[in-house]
């Protein structure tokens, strides 16, 4: 099956029904191995055992940003190519992105209290991440406000494209401003500054979180397609009754 054939919602549903159990199984296996490796990781020489919070914080931060990146591509799909699944993907992704961004902020606060002496500081990285969460909540609210999915999709697509400005601000905030948050330490010119005993569990957790995200996204897209079918049938029912 070609990827373009998945543009048909019925074909997508069949493919999703096949893929979700396998992806779910792979997610459980990779998570089990990643958590095992994370628990065996040594304490950091500065952070001590609180480095283990990073195994949750960093992947959830990456996914929060990746999800908005996917929603940005979907927004282009809605506005430019009018792809039938683009707004389905965007709507399904928003709660997932909000959840991972919230987890990033919560775990960051729980790490910050013992390491920085405070749960929160109005630092550029933290503030831009909080703005990302507010953008997600705005997108979810917009989907719920406009009843017609195609009208809502266009409004959400525009908000998503505008909100994408926050992604480079989050990424480069630690370079552009004086921040309490540390600079890039995994993906940077000159290679990672993290010791492999901590880097490998971190990357394994990132792989597990990404698999979880893909599984949940496919499941949420399947739900959204079914929800639209319910809407169509209710409209047919109402017009038949009228």
């Amino acid at each position: 099956m070609r990827i373009s054939e998945l543009a048909n919602p019925s074909r997508f549903l069949r493919a999703a029904n096949l893929a979700i159990p396998w992806l779910g199984g792979a997610t459980v296996i990779v998570f089990a191995f990643a958590i095992y490796r994370a628990m065996l990781a040594p304490d950091d020489y500065q952070q001590g055992a609180t480095v283990k919070i990073m195994f949750l914080h960093v992947p959830s931060a990456w996914l929060g940003m990746l999800c908005w990146g996917l929603m940005t591509i979907a927004a282009l799909g809605t506005l430019v190519w009018r792809h039938p699944l683009a707004d389905v993907a965007a709507k399904a992704a928003a709660p997932l992105g909000a959840a991972f961004t919230l987890l990033c902020l919560v775990t960051g606060s729980l790490w910050g209290r013992p390491e920085w002496g405070t749960y929160w500081v109005w630092d550029a990285r933290l503030t831009s991440e909080l703005i990302l969460l507010l953008l997600y909540l705005g997108v979810i609210a917009l989907w719920r406000t406009v009843e017609d999915p195609s009208r809502a999709a266009r409004a959400v697509a525009i908000l998503t494209l505008v909100g994408a400005i926050d992604l480079p601000i989050i990424k480069f905030s630690v370079d552009w401003w004086n921040t309490l948050h540390q600079g890039a330490s995994v993906f940077r010119l000159g290679g990672s500054t993290i010791d492999p005993t901590i880097l490998i569990p971190l990357l394994l957790m990132a792989a597990a979180f990404t698999l979880l995200f893909v599984t949940l996204l496919l499941a949420a897209m399947r739900n959204e397609i079914l929800r639209r079918r319910v809407r169509t049938l209710r409209l047919l029912q109402a017009s038949a009754a009228g």
Binding site: A49, T50, L110, P114, L216, R222, L233
Partner: protein, 58 residues
């Protein structure tokens, strides 16, 4: 020791992680069941999409 001094923050962070993941899985699972149930109820009443009727006729 620093590890035991900060264990409550580590436990709270992993607790938050488990809560978020369980909530997301519950959301997609319950929503799937709800949509399937509503679709089945509507189809029981004889309401179906034109494309579904055409594929059933073939």
């Amino acid at each position: 020791m620093a590890a035991t001094a900060h264990i409550e923050f580590i436990v709270a962070a992993y607790g938050a992680g488990v809560a978020v993941i369980v909530a997301l899985i519950a959301w997609v699972t319950l929503d799937y069941r709800l949509q399937r149930r509503i679709l089945a109820e509507l189809e029981t009443k004889g309401i179906s999409r034109r494309s579904a009727r055409e594929s059933a006729d073939e």
